[in-house]
Symmetry: C2
Subunit: 214 residues, 2 copies
Amino acid sequence: MSERIPEVVVRRLPIYARALGQLEARGVAVISSLDLGRLLGVTPAQIRKDLSYFGEFGKQGTGYDVAHLKREIRRILGLDREWRMAIVGVGRLGRAIASYPGFASEGFRVVALFDNDPAKIGTTIGDLVVRSMDELAKVAADERIDIGIVAVPADQGQEVVDKLVAVGVTGLLNYAPITISVPPHVRVRDVDPVVALQSMTYYLKHSGPDDPAS
Amino acid sequence: MSERIPEVVVRRLPIYARALGQLEARGVAVISSLDLGRLLGVTPAQIRKDLSYFGEFGKQGTGYDVAHLKREIRRILGLDREWRMAIVGVGRLGRAIASYPGFASEGFRVVALFDNDPAKIGTTIGDLVVRSMDELAKVAADERIDIGIVAVPADQGQEVVDKLVAVGVTGLLNYAPITISVPPHVRVRDVDPVVALQSMTYYLKHSGPDDPAS
């Protein structure tokens, strides 16, 4: 079933779930696709179409049950279970990721840390000990790691990715500023603020006061 | 012109530019759309179509001039100038962003830091002093801030966004885990690793060994 749903739809579902969670926290029990669309800056038609891939969630004219729809979307996304993650690279970025409070509260648990720097191996961050990359296969099996977080410099990114894939990790969150290559069964999400900025400047340039000619 | 190009195309251009930069660093002078597509995991037809929105960049049968195409894409994206950024919120995340080396090397310069915590105002991070939010309007004008980086907790995100928009900032890089509302002339990019993970688990769930029934 998974491959028949457009990926762009799957990528919007977490945004819907998050907004529904915020509405729930504010005590909103029911919301129309019109109001949900306004909140998210999308059309109600898009919300209805996106959700229609997964079933029937609202009754015509009565809107969506906020708590129910949130729970259903989270179940569809596989967020009704814990996901176990390892961070590779505990430099400044890796350490910031390791102590990011937003993961655990959403069911993404960092269970292992790796580095190849002897000065870092054996040190502790939070309640985790930094392990050597030589231990990757053993720790990945023992800790049942689902997702690898790549937080090494660009020139080490692909090598780390290859090692994670070799030990059976099938999901990667890539912070290295490179385009990584993976086999078809492996899923990648890139977190790269520079790439995000670089597609925004296109619009700033064409609307900015200092470039009236464009 | 800017509004006629599909946004998905604009969002792919930085990826092309980055890959071309990597090829250039490796001494590659010319590349075919086939080889560039292989490197990026997209079809050569998509690369040709994306680039065709902006002009004629390759000759049939001879491939693209790597350095020239990179330079042209960067010019199209507005990356041939400096962009000046302010970070609002200098907690752990804001500090990590402030010291991220990837911004300056790509022409994104952090020129101001803000927080509303009296214990942080007046302290120094790198060579910048943390300023009070009360000084936002003055500093934004003096420092010609183009882009605001929102690095505050979720419950303060919208308020900070409203203040940045009020002083004329038209580009926002949002790290707060909320969907923010902005007027139509303001551009937003969200950097949210949890949302990235949440659209990946959908696929991991449907391919994982521990969920064979799906």
